[in-house]
């Protein structure tokens, strides 16, 4: 099976969906001639031409809103935010318009857009370029929110997102773009709303999404090697819809839950998970639910401190050991 990078996986997904459906088009800053700020869209302009791969001027509210409007007539724009931090510039178009137009029209309209781009810290780019707003987006009924951690998941989920008739927020991670995993050459889809147990274990459950999954897997390796602790790692993959069943099944198995997330603690994804788990699996818990989030401040610049601010394997391991 081919071993490809997360970036290549996204590129393939975009190319395949552009090929498959003439309504699909790409819209964003530097995605065409520049081949993408992070090269996710490399080669697509050359292959599909300027009608399908469109370089937008820096005007997120304008071009995101344009994409939403175009989708009302049935086009399927895949809109790139160079950084998900820039969602705030287009907040009204994304989380007022895209999220609500179907509802306010009583179901007459649907908005089949995808908004994709990297949402991550850890690259020393400072607070305004390091947002991870999956929790903010997920708070809005009307949108779907997806955070793939591996190349395989990225490809399968992006294809599903593009085919989804609702607005899908697709949050990637620049640090993951070079990670490789085995990705089938034949077409495959990963459905939204399906989590994935990335590592089976018995002593505790770690639930994470995005890059936190990879850090949790590293922590799980260390826990096993150094402390003889068997940690199960559940990759949510999809925040909304949420695979509650897989999470609860794991909790019933291990009786201890550690939630790991790169987003900030207050009203983070973990806050919602903690509520769900205590509501539905209270009697299964042998310890309070614990959480490792980003340390609760704007993203710090200083490189070694930023490493500490994010949920790195050491912090995850320390928290896990405190639970056992």
């Amino acid at each position: 099976m081919p071993l490809i990078t997360y970036r290549e996986a996204l590129n393939q997904a975009l190319a395949e969906e552009l090929e498959r459906d003439p309504n699909v088009l790409l819209l964003g800053e530097e995605i065409g001639q520049f081949n993408g700020a992070y090269k996710v869209t490399e080669g697509l302009l050359a292959r599909f031409g300027p009608k399908r791969v469109i370089d937008a001027p820096i005007s997120e509210a304008g071009f995101v809103g344009l994409g939403v409007g175009a989708s009302m007539l049935g086009l399927r724009p895949v809109i790139e935010l160079m950084f998900w931090s820039f969602y705030s510039v287009a907040f009204d178009q994304i989380l007022n318009n895209a999220a609500n137009i179907r509802y306010m029209s009583g179901g007459l309209i649907n908005i089949p857009i995808v908004i994709r781009g990297p949402a991550n810290g850890g690259t020393n780019v400072g607070a305004t370029h390091s947002l991870t707003p999956e929790n903010v987006c997920a708070n809005h009924p009307g949108v779907k929110v997806v955070c793939p951690a591996t190349a395989y998941d990225a490809k399968g989920l992006l294809k599903s997102a593009i085919r989804d008739n609702d607005p899908v927020m697709f949050l990637e991670n620049t640090i993951l773009y070079n990670d490789r995993s085995e990705v089938p050459a034949e077409e495959f889809l990963v459905p939204l709303g399906q989590a994935d147990v990335k590592r089976a274990g018995t002593d505790l459950t770690i639930v994470a999404h995005g890059r936190a999954v990879m850090n949790s897997l590293k922590a799980a390796q260390l826990l096993d090697a150094e402390h003889d602790v068997s940690a199960e790692v559940v990759d949510l993959r999809s925040i909304r819809p949420l695979d509650e069943e897989t999470v609860l099944a794991s909790v019933r198995k291990t009786n201890r839950v550690l939630l790991v997330e790169e987003n900030k603690p207050f009203c983070g994804v973990g806050a919602q998970l903690a509520y769900l788990i205590q509501e539905k699996a209270f009697d299964e818990l042998d310890a309070p639910i614990k959480r490792v989030s980003a340390i609760d401040a704007p993203a710090i610049y200083s490189p070694p401190l930023e490493k500490e601010q994010l949920p790195n394997p050491q912090r995850i391991m320390t928290a896990a050991l405190e639970m056992l």
């Binding site: 088009l25 009608k51 937008a56 001027p57 005007s59 509210a61 304008g62 071009f63 995101v64 809103g65 344009l66 994409g67 939403v68 409007g69 175009a70 989708s71 009302m72 007539l73 049935g74 086009l75 009204d92 178009q93 007022n96 318009n97 137009i101 179907r102 509802y103 306010m104 029209s105 009583g106 179901g107 007459l108 309209i109 649907n110 089949p112 009924p141 009307g142 779907k144 599903s160 085919r163 989804d164 008739n165 609702d166 889809l189 459905p191 939204l192 709303g193 399906q194 989590a195 999809s238 909304r240 819809p241 949420l242 695979d243 509650e244 069943e245 919602q272 769900l276």
Partner: protein
């Protein structure tokens, strides 16, 4: 303050006919049949009476939230929508009752929507600011000032993408012209040569702040020059002029992919919304003066009477019919059921509303 009916609407002899607007001779107007002219008048009257009936219902507590009435601006929606061709689309902001009626939505479903009933055009889920009818190419009904302008630009983009020779009429108020998103949309329209015409309904006030106190520069439509777009100014009280200038701008957009700005000078008799204490920003004299000299219904009535198209009897008939229709709509709304609690989470996601096509899994709603 209830608008006083014009002398004409009360069946009295009309004042001396106004000089025929030069726009009446433009081909788009000259070729109108008598029946078509009467129909334009009828639609304007239906808007007027619907708005008045909605106001009464609001004052009786039947309608909640905001009510942004279109009274005084009828010629703008009717004039512009009446020259739309089969592949043109329209979108506007929250003062959308006039446009909804102008494109042909039924008064019943509109009033029921205002009352929050399940029989409303948005099943009671949108309210006054969110009337939609995709089958009539009417894309709302939007609450955030200027938020609809990129949407309309996107509709134009889709038409061009699909090689459809149509334009998108994108309405905004004089209060919206300073929103960043509006400028972004102007730029995209001009840069990509999108078939969009931006209609600025300049009624002189964004809520309570006059246009003079809000907008820098020489004129609202003139800003188009900064983006290399065509622009014009239009008298919104003159139905024929609205038709003529709209038609010209739409042709430019459709045939030459030249976006444009059409600033239409108009006026609203009621406040920004019904709850607006408009004594803080304008005088009763100003409102009365407009009503006396530029009421679009009065003016088109005089014009059609001078053309021999509208007799006092026919005018009375149209007025009575419009009032009756508005009353029936209120009755329909009154008798209609509210949505159920179980309806609250429907019409949120296409997949949930179309389960036979659903591919995603997991839990989508939470409690």
């Amino acid at each position: 303050m209830t608008p006083k009916p014009s002398a004409i609407a009360e069946g009295k002899d009309p004042a001396p006919a106004a000089a025929a607007s030069p726009a009446s001779r433009a081909p788009i107007n000259a070729r109108l049949t008598k029946a078509e002219r009467v129909d334009l008048y009828r639609t304007m009257m239906r808007i007027r009476r619907f708005e008045e009936r909605a106001l009464r219902a609001y004052q009786q507590g039947r309608i909640g939230g905001f009510l942004h009435l279109y009274i005084g601006q009828e010629a703008v929606a009717v004039g512009s929508c009446s020259v739309m061709q089969k592949d043109d689309h329209v979108i506007t902001a929250y003062r959308d009752h006039g446009h909804a009626i102008a494109v042909g939505m039924s008064l019943n479903e509109l009033m029921a929507e205002l009352y929050g009933k399940a029989t409303g055009c948005s099943k009671g889920k949108g309210g006054s600011m969110h009337f939609f009818d995709p089958s009539r190419k009417f894309w709302g009904g939007h609450g955030i000032v200027g938020g609809q302008v990129p949407l309309g630009t996107g509709i134009a983009f889709a038409l061009k993408y699909r090689d459809i020779k149509g334009a998108c009429l994108t309405f905004l108020g004089d209060g919206a012209v300073n929103q960043g998103a509006v400028h972004e949309a102007y730029n995209l329209a001009a840069l990509w040569r999108l078939p969009v015409v931006f209609f600025i309904e300049n009624n002189g006030y964004s809520m309570g702040t006059s246009q003079r106190r809000s907008s820098a520069g020489a004129g609202l439509a003139k800003r188009a020059e900064g983006y290399g777009m065509a622009w014009e100014v239009c008298n919104g009280h003159d139905l024929y002029e609205v038709r003529e200038k709209t038609d010209r701008m739409l042709q430019l957009a459709r045939d030459q992919q030249q976006p444009g700005l059409l600033e239409i000078m108009t006026y609203r008799y009621r406040g920004h919304s019904v709850a607006d204490p408009d004594s803080t920003y304008r005088t009763k004299e100003e409102i009365e003066n407009y009503r006396r000299t530029k009421d679009p219904l009065t003016l088109i009535h005089e014009t059609l009477a001078a053309e021999g198209v509208l007799t006092p009897e026919l005018a009375k008939e149209i007025d009575a019919a419009a009032r009756a229709e508005a009353d029936r709509a209120a009755q329909f709304a009154e008798e209609s059921p509210f949505p159920q609690v179980g309806d609250i989470c429907q019409d949120v996601y296409w997949e949930e509303d179309n389960p036979e096509h659903k591919r995603s899994q997991g839990r989508i709603f939470f409690d």
